[in-house]
């Protein structure tokens, strides 16, 4: 670890200035995906399959094409198959031989008005041969299940799979011998769990405007977590050169992982090219639910053994995740995350990646982790109760720490799990009295965090202000954090910095905003770019003074001689150097292009009090506290915001949110009325405790904080319900009907 991280005092990092994009957003002037328009723009709309699984025999678009006002129609034929590694996304963007889920796109139109576009969709005739479907993960794994793809043979299975199936892959992790561990245990608990799929639920539907000419040049404006990714896929699917398509990221109205892929963008590009006019596509909420997101649904077995003094001797988990119609359910990541919180001698996990007739999974905040955390932390809780040990003490006794060999391979550096657990235990919430019918639960959670490819450019203005261009869309206040890091490094006021999200033509490649990576990796690149600019400014000062470059240092926004021996010169401020730059060598800028490593894993622990209504099965969250390690909180208000927002998304999933499919394989609740996310009156304030155990991989010690907060809530709430009722819930969400059923069965059984 660089020595200065733990002891460094910051002047601006750690303060709470107003966000630079704030006024635009409180006055309605910020432009989100659907807010951009162009002269002569057409409306694009997409026709979607009403069937969960159907062969497409024929698509007749002639009547739609003949409708006055229709300017272009596209189908899968407009996205020719090539060997470019984009097979699955191409099939998802526009169905080819088969429609694979209710909501799968089959054709699209561009017309002069929304009304004409809507009318045109009705005139497209699709002949389907309806096929048997499967939407449940356990059903999909059975040999008798309808098989979605003839080319999927289970990967990593021994002996090698001979027949195609819905099981795309098997993934195993761990070390030691869990069976031997269970033999040493005084108590072994094994339970099976189910977790239903949730949607990211961003309030802004996907939207884009494409303006592409027949020669394959153009612009695309869209709400996305990664415009470089949008460019790669949209250009790829339309046979365009990367550099000819410029993608600009609009303000983004929530993503949470759900906007790390594309749906409508390549379609708008194809329509615009064909129509010779700009085309705008905005999804309806119904389309968002039926065709985008959601998460996996999961079926999980967990078995854990411990001695009577509270030491875990063996742990095993088997995860069956379905991720919709294409491989990639992230069961492998779930299997890696399963026991990441614990220091274990004997641990093994198996993940099964399964396809079903549901929309293709998109990442959702710590994707894969909340479901397995629910299962593992529920069994941990039950073990602590069985042994008669405080649930935090039990976790502390087995907690991963610096030097622990994690269950998925790496050995941990400095981590904050113990600190968060201790902070919760010391918090007044943990000792607050509870009334009858109320219960308290605790759980801890983990996420890997990510670094990735990052490129930033920092330009010193002639007036001494600084413009920073980054390529990672700002989904939660990152422009404020970047500006703070620039101000800190250069020693200038925060207000002198402006951070923008540059388009794909103006900056080198950037990975998408995901994996809690932006404050870490874009921050790391920003600090490096600022340091590179400082080098230039010190060189300019040295030349001005006629002394060697290494005799100049940068302190508090000024170049100054390193000491009396270097010479006696008045310090030059950033503004002084900038003003004279035209005479000292021209423009001053700092750049950084990096693949950021060392993201630093993240741990958090949550505490909840609930009250269960035994007549309705409704659960009220009375009090909630989040403790999490941030490494270093650059803008603490937005760190708290991540903790609170993630926790509430987790509470929603724990209590209400789920994809409900009918026997016909169609989604039954594709709207916010029936897919109910938490509202203001459902919740208490969410208390936060920010711990700061510096990440050795970042110059300021920063860790990503965005994802971990959604991991523990489902387990935390489940454990609180168990404490309140004596009933262990094993199927999430723990909605009123499920709670009532469990309470009734428990009563019948006793």
């Amino acid at each position: 670890m660089p020595k200065d991280i733990a002891t460094r005092t910051f002047k601006q990092v750690g303060t709470r200035p107003l966000r630079p994009d704030g006024i635009e957003k409180v006055t309605g002037r910020a432009r989100f995906g659907a807010d951009f328009s162009m002269p002569g723009m057409l409306t694009g709309r997409i026709l979607r399959s009403p069937h969960a699984h159907a062969r497409i025999l024929k698509i007749d678009t002639s009547a739609a094409e003949a409708l006055p006002g229709v300017k272009a129609v596209v189908t899968a034929r407009d996205f020719p198959e090539t060997d470019d590694g984009l097979h699955d996304i191409r099939m998802n963007v526009m169905a080819r031989e088969k429609a694979l889920y209710d909501g799968h796109a089959v054709a699209a139109v561009a017309a002069v008005s929304p009304a004409v576009a809507k009318e045109a969709l009705k005139l497209i005739r699709v002949d389907y041969e309806v096929l048997p479907h499967v939407t449940d993960v356990d059903e999909a794994m059975k040999p008798s299940a309808p098989v979605l793809h003839q080319h999927i043979f289970t990967a990593n299975e021994s002996p090698a799979a001979k027949r195609p199936s819905n099981v795309a892959g098997k993934y195993e992790f761990g070390h030691g011998d869990p069976e031997a561990g269970f033999r040493k245990a005084d108590h072994v608990i094994a339970r099976s769990f189910k977790v239903e799929a949730a949607h990211q639920g961003y309030i802004e539907p996907h939207a884009c405007v494409a303006n592409v000419t027949a020669d394959g040049q153009g612009d695309l404006w869209c709400c996305t977590q990664g415009h470089f990714m949008v460019r790669a896929i949209s250009a790829g699917l339309n046979g365009m050169d990367l550099s000819k398509l410029r993608v600009t990221a609009s303000e983004i109205g929530g993503g949470f992982g759900g906007k790390t892929t594309v749906y409508i963008e390549p379609v708008a590009v194809a329509l615009s090219r064909k129509a010779g006019k700009p085309v705008k596509i905005v999804m309806t909420r119904d389309e968002v639910f039926r065709a985008t997101g959601p998460t996996h649904s999961a079926s999980i077995d967990v078995k854990i053994g411990a001695t009577k003094d509270g030491r875990i001797t063996g742990a095993f988990a088997e995860l069956r995740y379905q991720g919709g119609a294409f491989p990639g359910s992230l069961a492998d990541m779930g299997a890696m995350a399963a026991f990441a919180c614990y220091d274990l001698e004997n641990v093994r996990t198996i993940g099964w990646d399964v396809v079903t007739n549901r929309p293709k999974l998109a990442a959702y905040r710590a994707p894969s982790a909340p479901a397995i955390c629910f299962a593992v932390e529920s069994v941990i809780d039950e073990l602590a109760r069985t042994i008669g040990m405080d649930p935090i003490d039990f976790r502390l006794k087995n907690a991963a720490r610096e030097g622990t060999l994690s269950s998925y391979g790496p050995t941990y550096q400095a981590i904050g799990l113990e600190a968060t657990l201790r902070a919760l235990k010391a918090h007044p919430h943990y000792k607050a009295p509870l009334k009858p019918g109320q219960g308290r639960g605790v759980a801890c959670g983990f996420w890997f965090n990510f670094g990735g490819q990052t490129c930033v450019s920092l330009n010193i203005g002639l007036d001494g202000t600084v413009a920073l261009s980054v390529g990672t869309p700002d989904i939660g206040g990152s422009r404020a954090s970047m500006s703070l890091m620039v101000a800190e490094e250069l020693g200038i006021p925060y207000e002198k910095v402006r951070c923008i999200i540059a388009d794909t033509a103006s900056l080198g490649y950037n990975d998408v905003t995901d994996g809690s990576r932006v404050t870490f990796s874009t921050g790391l690149a920003t600090i490096q770019a600022a340091r590179n600019a400082i080098k230039v400014m010190c060189a300019r000062a040295a030349a001005t003074w006629g002394i060697p470059e290494d005799a100049v240092e940068w302190v508090d926004g000024h170049a100054r001689p390193t000491g009396p021996n270097a010479g006696n010169f008045e310090p030059l401020s950033l503004a002084d150097i900038a003003a004279q730059s035209h005479q000292t060598g021209g423009p001053i800028a700092g750049h950084c292009e990096v693949t950021a490593e060392g993201a630093g894993v993240s741990f958090g622990a949550h505490l909840a009090d609930v009250e269960v209504d035994r007549e309705t099965g409704a659960v009220k969250v009375l009090r909630y506290t989040v403790a999490q390690d941030a490494g270093k909180a650059v803008h603490p208000a937005y760190v708290e915001g991540q903790y609170q927002g993630g926790a509430v998304q987790g509470i929603g999933w724990a209590l209400n949110e789920e994809y409900i499919y009918g026997h016909d394989g169609r989604l039954q609740n594709a709207g916010f009325l029936d897919y109910r996310i938490p509202v203001c009156s459902d919740l208490p304030m969410i208390d936060t405790l920010i711990l700061e155990i510096p990440n050795p991989g970042h110059p300021y010690g920063v860790r990503g904080v965005g994802e971990t907060p959604i991991v523990p809530p489902m387990a935390t709430i489940g454990n609180a319900i168990a404490a309140a009722t004596g009933v262990r819930m094993t199927h999430a969400p723990m909605s009123p009907p499920r709670i009532l059923k469990a309470l009734t069965e428990n009563q019948a059984g006793t």
Binding site: R19, Y202, I203, E640, F672, C680
Partner: protein, 160 residues
């Protein structure tokens, strides 16, 4: 057949042509260029399109554009006076009560109407009044604090 609608938006006369089945939300956004009002669902479930129609808080996606004839509409664009933000807008910024910001116009419109009716709401009253506005980023904590703090500030200012 297009309808000709004459209305008042944020204190100014406004007129537009619209289809009979067009929503007020679409007319505001697509006919008048007032894109501060957002569409999150189109079914009245998310509150992102909240506006005040003749003193009543409504989802503009559930109102026909033609219903605005002869009435007055207040949207997010009508809040700040020039470069001067309202207390609520200021408190939303100070409390970091927004992350992505797409629900923010709806929350501000709804919260302003609450404080017009009740200058001293309890936390519970704030939470129930705002229960028709969905926010997916913040968990509502900072929004509720911002509204309570704005109410306090406005009361003190009114009595000063």
């Amino acid at each position: 057949m297009a309808l000709h609608v004459k209305t008042n938006v944020n204190g100014d006369a406004a007129e537009f042509l619209c289809e009979p089945d067009e929503t007020l939300l679409d007319a505001l956004r697509d006919r008048l260029g007032l894109t501060g009002t957002k569409e999150g669902c189109g079914t009245g479930d998310c509150g992102a399109c909240s506006v005040i129609l003749d003193g009543r808080l409504v989802c503009s996606c559930l109102v026909l554009a033609a219903e605005a004839e002869g009435r007055s509409v207040r949207t997010i664009e009508g809040m700040a006076k020039g470069d001067e933000l309202t207390t609520l807008q200021r408190k939303f910024l100070e409390h970091a009560a927004l992350q992505c910001g797409v629900c923010t116009p709806g929350f501000l419109v709804a919260a302003e109407e609450l404080l017009r009716r009740n200058d001293n709401p309890t936390e519970e009253q704030v939470r129930y009044w705002l229960a028709g506005n969905l926010c997916r980023c913040t968990g509502y904590d900072k929004i509720v604090r911002a509204v309570l703090d704005a109410a306090k500030d406005m009361r003190e200012h009114a009595h000063a």
